[in-house]
Subunit: 142 residues, 2 copies
DNA sequence: TTTAAAAATGCAATTCATTCGCATTTGCAT
DNA sequence: ATGCAAATGCGAATGAATTGCATTTTTAAA
């Protein structure tokens, strides 16, 4: 298993260092797309580090809680997806055909959100922007 | 039961006119906040038009399919919410404390989405923007 | 107005993702 | 090495939503 940089171990965030926990974070770190608990469960099995599905869920909870991982609820997918948290504010472009998720690491909403806070007198804590469409690949196949 | 304007009956959209279906659309039309299937189920019971919960779900499916109603998946709520579709593009401002949902009937993303389509070569079908924060009322109580 | 087919409904059972209880095991500080 | 909290496995439970099927209702046609 590869050393995951700053997070080689879980010391410092109050989590114990277990084989499956390290493996799960590793899978998440290398994954180019967000993954579900079930997918992680299966990947672990392939790597012969198999963990129980409830353990996978519990681990993902912990990692999310510690902000090492981000939990995504994409409309149209009944399962939650998880991705390694690289500490970048981002939005998602989702292909309605192949379900591919592309991160957009820019945000058009900075000023808008400030203005909205003023107008509504809310204190704004965050936002979520998902954009839906059809990717070039899927568009070709028509 | 009040005549719901253009949708006094379901003729023209291929749905049969049943008591519970009319009542459900009526509840949705009058509701100031989006509502869950369960809430509708309970409101129906109060009005002595009680329908089975599966009927409520099936009806909401149909209404959503016919675009008379919009289905919302708000992060942090395990249930789906439904609202009468007034054919207005909108976004939501959600209070993390009291869960109040405020519709925002303006969109800051028009040009951005067009630019994104060009950059990414996606054909963009839609988007979803939810903004999270704390409403004035909840902020006072601190 | 009767009639027949299609659509809608009630009810119970089922699905699916996720969570929980509890006995056992493991990691880690001492 | 020892002890204790944390983590795990396993099976059962949860909760929202869906489904199968028998029965009822709606609607259009006769
Ligand atoms: Mn943003
Ligand atoms: Mn918009
Ligand atoms: Zn695609
Ligand atoms: Zn509030």
């Amino acid at each position: 298993m590869k050393d995951t940089g700053i997070n080689a171990t879980f010391k410092g965030c109050g989590l114990k260092n277990t084989k499956s926990r390290l493996a799960i974070l590793d899978i998440l770190e290398r994954s180019v797309q967000p993954v579900s608990a079930e997918q992680i469960f299966l990947e672990l099995k392939e790597k012969n580090i198999s963990a129980n599905l409830s353990t996978v869920y519990r681990t993902l909870d912990k990692l999310t809680e510690k902000k090492l991982v981000t939990k995504l609820q994409i409309t149209g997918d009944s399962r939650a997806l998880f991705e390694y948290n690289r500490m970048v504010h981002k939005h998602y472009l989702i292909c309605l055909e192949c379900k591919k998720i592309t991160a957009i690491e820019s945000c058009p909403l900075g000023d808008y959100v400030k203005a909205l806070a003023r107008e509504t007198d809310y204190s704004i804590a965050g936002h979520r922007l998902d954009i839906y469409g059809f990717c070039p690949d899927c568009r070709k196949k028509d």
